[in-house]
């Protein structure tokens, strides 16, 4: 509650900007970066991660966002607990191999108005805040396929809300809220050969042709969001990238054919299939985001909504930890509980810590978005997605280590959990794309914000020589500049100091990377990977420090454990960041080590498998 007046300095300004950002007309005309530049908003106010990378800090970041009214917290807690309990009941009778969403689960979703939550109040929705939605999605996370099912409607709602015309909003949003319409996203990936294109005919209307694979719930969908290319100029080959909202009831002679439905290992509640579009009318009134506005819409799908995936995964992991803890507490080894075995505790500690970090990040970012303190969350979304991938992978280890053979035994809850995790990981964006998205966006912002000039463009040997000592000093003994520890509980002083040191060192490392590699950095996967890890750690450290400080100060239950976890995490994250940055400094140092990580993979691909001879092989 105290955070509200403390944040008042730029709150009004940022809220107004956020309101403008969410307004359809402004968004199309002015992206958030332009608005920020026009209003001289500092970069840390626009994007938190970019600010941290640029060694900029705002004390508001250390105030963990919270509800201003205790009644709101009670209401959303009651609601999400109710949804969770009802879902658990509905899932208990379900055959784990049955496909599609069951009637019981659907009735729980409809009875509780889950689809209403995403839609604004003026379009017959509930218009929940980001924090509310995070809580609801956490409840849905007890079953990941239910979350993925609901998330399709959410993405569709978001697209129409941001880029749709007023007619589209009033026509589709109320129906999406009441689940009268079921959406499917068809975002083409030309690199895999999937093409949906718009073909124009003289004297007639343009038609959409093509296909898209791996579409979720295409078999039950009523509306399709189809991203397609349209040739603008035959001579130059220039084309426009459009997003069409295709209503199945309005396609006339057109055909939408569903084929090759995949039988997946997990996420049985959804279907993944291939969709063919033939002769579908491509009308102007069906465009989302206007002509050539497909890129913005696609970016929105890619860079928004991962917070909800994160919160669902948090709900899933909490459920999993509870199951594993019950299993370990009920089992007996020797004269003690299985849970007292240190190996079991070690296996659970990774997942426990990961859940804590992921939960801290998503509620932190969700709260900041509610308060309008950050406007751009593209990097943060990619970071959350990468955390989700990492957390799910490590959860596998926990399950197998703790439950042993029970983890793979049919009929036990772990079986469904591991299958769902497996399928979700396969559907998620791969780590390399995320790493590129995180690191390259950050490097570009860093170069633009610091007005960096390479020594190749403007050589100044004397200045460079003089700066060598300064740079080394900054690296070895970074000076505290922001005194972050002044804004948190004294117990977290060391964690804050480590965070600040990492921020300073990242600045030095970025200077060297950009100076030495220039734009070639985009091909250097190892560098991007290391940079991404450091950025992720920075965000996670800020979120956990702010959360633990708040919890301990107000005396939440088990706040002492929370504090210990935050300190332990910050210690290991700072160590990891330091080692990654040292690797980068070495990599771009005098003796250049070619990172061999990618080369190993390249050799495997080149030789069609493991390329090294057996150690018993003789060559003479």
């Amino acid at each position: 509650m105290l955070s509200v007046p403390l944040r008042s300095r730029l709150l009004r300004q940022t809220c107004m900007l956020a309101a403008r950002y969410t307004s359809n007309e402004v968004t199309k005309a002015k992206p958030v970066e332009v608005i920020a530049q026009e209003n001289n908003l500092p970069i840390e106010r626009t994007s938190l991660s970019r600010g941290l990378a640029l060694n900029r800090f705002e004390k508001d970041f250390m105030i963990y966002p919270e509800y201003s009214d205790a009644e709101d917290v009670d209401n959303i807690k009651k609601f999400s607990n109710k949804v969770r309990d009802e879902l658990v009941n509905a899932l208990s009778d379900r055959n784990v191999h049955a496909t599609g969403i069951s009637d019981e689960i659907l009735s729980v979703l409809l009875k509780n108005g889950i689809f209403h939550g995403f839609v604004p109040k003026e379009y017959e929705g509930a218009g929940l805040s980001t924090k509310d939605l995070l809580c609801v999605n956490e409840a849905l996370g007890v079953d990941l396929s239910t979350f993925v099912f609901v998330n399709q409607t959410y993405i569709a709602t978001r697209l129409i809300q941001l880029y749709g015309t007023e007619e589209q909003k009033s026509k589709y949003l109320p129906k999406l809220a009441s689940f009268q319409l079921k959406p499917a996203m068809c975002m083409q990936n030309p690199l895999t050969g999937e093409i949906t294109e718009v073909v124009g005919f003289h004297g007639g209307e343009s038609k959409v042709h093509g296909y898209k694979s791996d579409v979720i719930n295409a078999d039950i969908a009523d509306i399709f969001f189809v991203f397609s290319n349209e040739l603008k100029n035959k001579g130059t080959g220039e084309s426009a990238y459009n997003c069409y909202l295709i209503d199945k009831s309005e396609i006339g002679d057109g055909q939408i054919t569903i084929s090759e439905t995949k039988v997946t290992h997990g996420l049985k509640g959804i279907n993944i299939s291939k969709v063919h579009f033939a002769n579908i009318p491509a009308r102007k009134e069906n465009l989302i985001g206007g002509y050539n506005g497909g890129h913005d819409a696609a970016n929105e799908i890619m860079s928004y909504g991962n917070f909800y995936l994160g919160s669902a995964v948090v709900g899933f992991l909490k459920n999993m930890l509870e199951e594993l803890a019950n299993y370990a507490n009920a089992g007996i080894v020797g004269n003690r509980r299985l849970a007292e075995n240190v190996a079991v505790q070690r296996a659970l500690s990774e997942t426990g810590m990961n859940t804590f970090v992921l939960e801290s990040i998503i509620y932190y970012l969700g709260g900041l978005m509610d308060e309008g303190l950050v406007l751009s969350t593209d990097i943060e979304n990619a970071i959350v997605q990468r955390y989700v991938n990492r957390v799910l992978r490590e959860a596998f280890v926990s399950v197998t280590q703790v439950a042993g053979t029970t983890a793979t035994q049919e009929g036990f809850p772990y079986d469904k959990m591991t299958r769902d995790m497996n399928t979700l990981l396969s559907l998620n964006v791969n780590d390399l794309s995320l790493v590129k998205s995180i690191s390259l966006s950050m490097i570009v912002s860093w170069v633009e914000a610091t007005s960096f000039e390479s020594r190749f463009a403007k050589a100044n040997t004397l200045k460079r020589l003089l700066n060598i000592n300064k740079r080394d000093s900054n690296w070895n003994n970074p000076k505290l500049k922001h005194f972050i520890a002044e804004h948190v509980h004294p117990s977290l002083e060391v964690a804050c100091r480590k965070l600040e040191n990492t921020m300073s060192r990242l600045d030095v490392a970025l200077n060297r990377i950009v100076e030495d590699a220039g734009s070639r950095v985009k091909e250097d996967v190892a560098t991007l990977w290391s940079l991404s890890t450091v950025l992720e750690n920075n965000l996670a450290m800020v979120a956990t420090i702010a959360r633990a400080s708040r919890s301990y100060s107000i005396g939440l239950r088990n706040a002492d454990i929370e504090l210990a976890w935050a300190i332990a995490f910050c210690h290991s994250a700072a160590r990891q960041s330091e080692s990654e940055l040292e690797f980068l400094m070495d990599h771009f140092g005098l003796l250049r080590k070619n990172p061999s990580l990618v080369n190993v993979g390249a050799a495997v691909v080149e030789f069609g498998g493991y390329p090294i001879e057996r150690p018993i092989e003789r060559n003479w």
Binding site: A330, I332, G334, N335, R336, R337, A339
Partner: protein, 418 residues
């Protein structure tokens, strides 16, 4: 010369002895408090002139008529007292507050009203209700009690009002009612930002949440402001006491002793480790059912029973000589020995006894204990082969009676053992 205080204490003790004797023979229906107060008044007025000389400041209050006879206070008292007991609830209490605020034509009488209202909080069962405390604090006028100059700030400005406010806040603290920021704002708007009463609420707002979970084994949210029935309370109490996280809780319904009454219940708690310990017991060993013991769940007393056995023959000495740790002789043997933490005694194996199960009964009788044991025998068949000694305490037995009963009932107790 005898000390006057000493003489008063002697007289009081003598009268107490007399009263006890009269009570036993049912000759004195008058409560002891009234006897003592009448006696003190008599002593004060008639006999102890020297004491009055020693403490002249005490003269006035004691000589004044009792507060309940004050016509003004009597009127306030009546507002709460005249409401029948069955209608004493939040609505009627709030109506009394509203009536006071509505009828108030002058800026006086808040302290008297609030002091009286505080007395009736528990009777109206509102001593745990935050909203009622807020309503009471809102009775103070906003503005006139705030100090305006440095002298007023230095000294206790409007001391009676501030003391009254502190008294309300003390009562909140005593009953464990967590204040929120609104309470702070109400007090700060009444007495100013840094007055004595405001400091009190600031400290409460700082410390009470910090100490809220000082008992880490109890989640207060499970009990506070929840109208839990006895079965639910029993489960929470057992969960608080049973430190084994693997403990399972079962609700057993058994036929009641009273044929007309419905089934009675037992909430039983037993962990898998405790089941294992029962199987490890020697056949025909003796186990004990002890109780009822009392545990407090916040302010609610819960009576529980414990099933236990004699301590296992294990080493309870946990002291390890440091020189043994760093002694490198037979290092391999120590490092790779079969004896690990997992083979050591577990938390149920205490030095005085081994706890095998715990339970809360609806009625604390031996027959209920027998039914509980029947239920446990279903999951622990080995219990059927064991001798059980029921050590069920009875309420309201004086020391003298207990001695006499023990002597008489000793053979009967043995016959209860199964």
């Amino acid at each position: 010369m005898a000390c006057p205080i000493h003489s008063i204490i002697c007289v009081v003790l003598r009268r107490f002895q007399q009263h006890q004797e009269q009570e036993q023979t049912c000759l004195s229906p008058v409560p002891f408090e009234e006897v003592i107060s009448a006696m003190l008044r008599q002593i004060w007025q008639g006999q102890s002139k020297s004491l009055q000389r020693l403490f002249p400041s005490c003269n006035a209050p004691l000589n004044r008529p009792m507060s309940s006879k004050d016509p003004q206070l009597l009127h306030i008292d009546e507002q709460f007292r005249k409401i029948p007991k069955e209608d004493r609830n939040k609505a009627t209490f709030n109506t009394a507050i509203e009536l006071f605020q509505h009828n108030r034509m002058r800026t006086r009488g808040h302290v008297e009203f609030l002091n009286t209202a505080l007395k009736y909080l528990e009777e109206y069962n509102l001593h745990k209700d935050l909203d009622t405390y807020k309503s009471l604090l809102k009775v103070f006028p906003k503005g006139p009690l705030i100090p305006t100059n440095v002298f007023q700030k230095m000294f206790l400005h409007f001391p009676m009002q501030q003391q009254c406010c502190v008294k309300i806040l003390d009562m909140m603290e005593w009953h464990g009612v967590q204040p929120d920021k609104e309470v702070h704002d109400i007090v700060a708007n009444t007495f100013g930002e840094w007055n004595f009463a405001t400091r009190k609420i600031k400290r409460m707002l700082y410390w009470m949440p910090k100490l809220r979970y000082s008992n880490k084994y109890l989640d207060r949210r499970m009990v506070e402001n929840k109208n839990l029935d006895d079965k639910a309370l029993a489960k929470v109490a057992l969960k608080m006491m049973c430190r084994d996280p693997g403990t399972t809780f079962t609700l057993v319904k058994t036929p009641s002793d009273d044929a007309e009454a419905e089934n009675s219940w037992v909430v039983s708690a037993q962990a898998p480790l405790q089941k294992k310990l029962i199987t490890d017991l020697a056949p025909e060993s003796t186990i004990y059912v002890d109780g009822p013991n009392v545990v407090y769940l916040l302010e609610k007393p819960i009576k529980y029973f414990v099933l236990s056995s004699d301590p296992f023959n294990t080493n309870f000495d946990e002291f390890i000589e440091q020189r043994d740790i760093y002694d490198m002789k037979d290092f391999r043997g120590k490092v790779f020995s079969d004896r690990t933490d997992l083979t050591e005694r577990n938390l149920h194996q205490q030095s005085d006894k081994t706890i095998l199960a715990m339970a809360v009964f609806e009625y604390q009788t031996e027959s209920m204990a027998v039914r509980w044991l029947d239920h446990l025998s279903e999951m622990n068949p080995k219990l059927n082969d064991m001798s059980v000694l029921f050590r069920v305490k009875k309420d309201g037995i004086s020391v003298a009676e207990e001695f006499s009963e023990e002597e008489e009932e000793e053979p009967a107790k043995e016959s209860q053992a199964i």
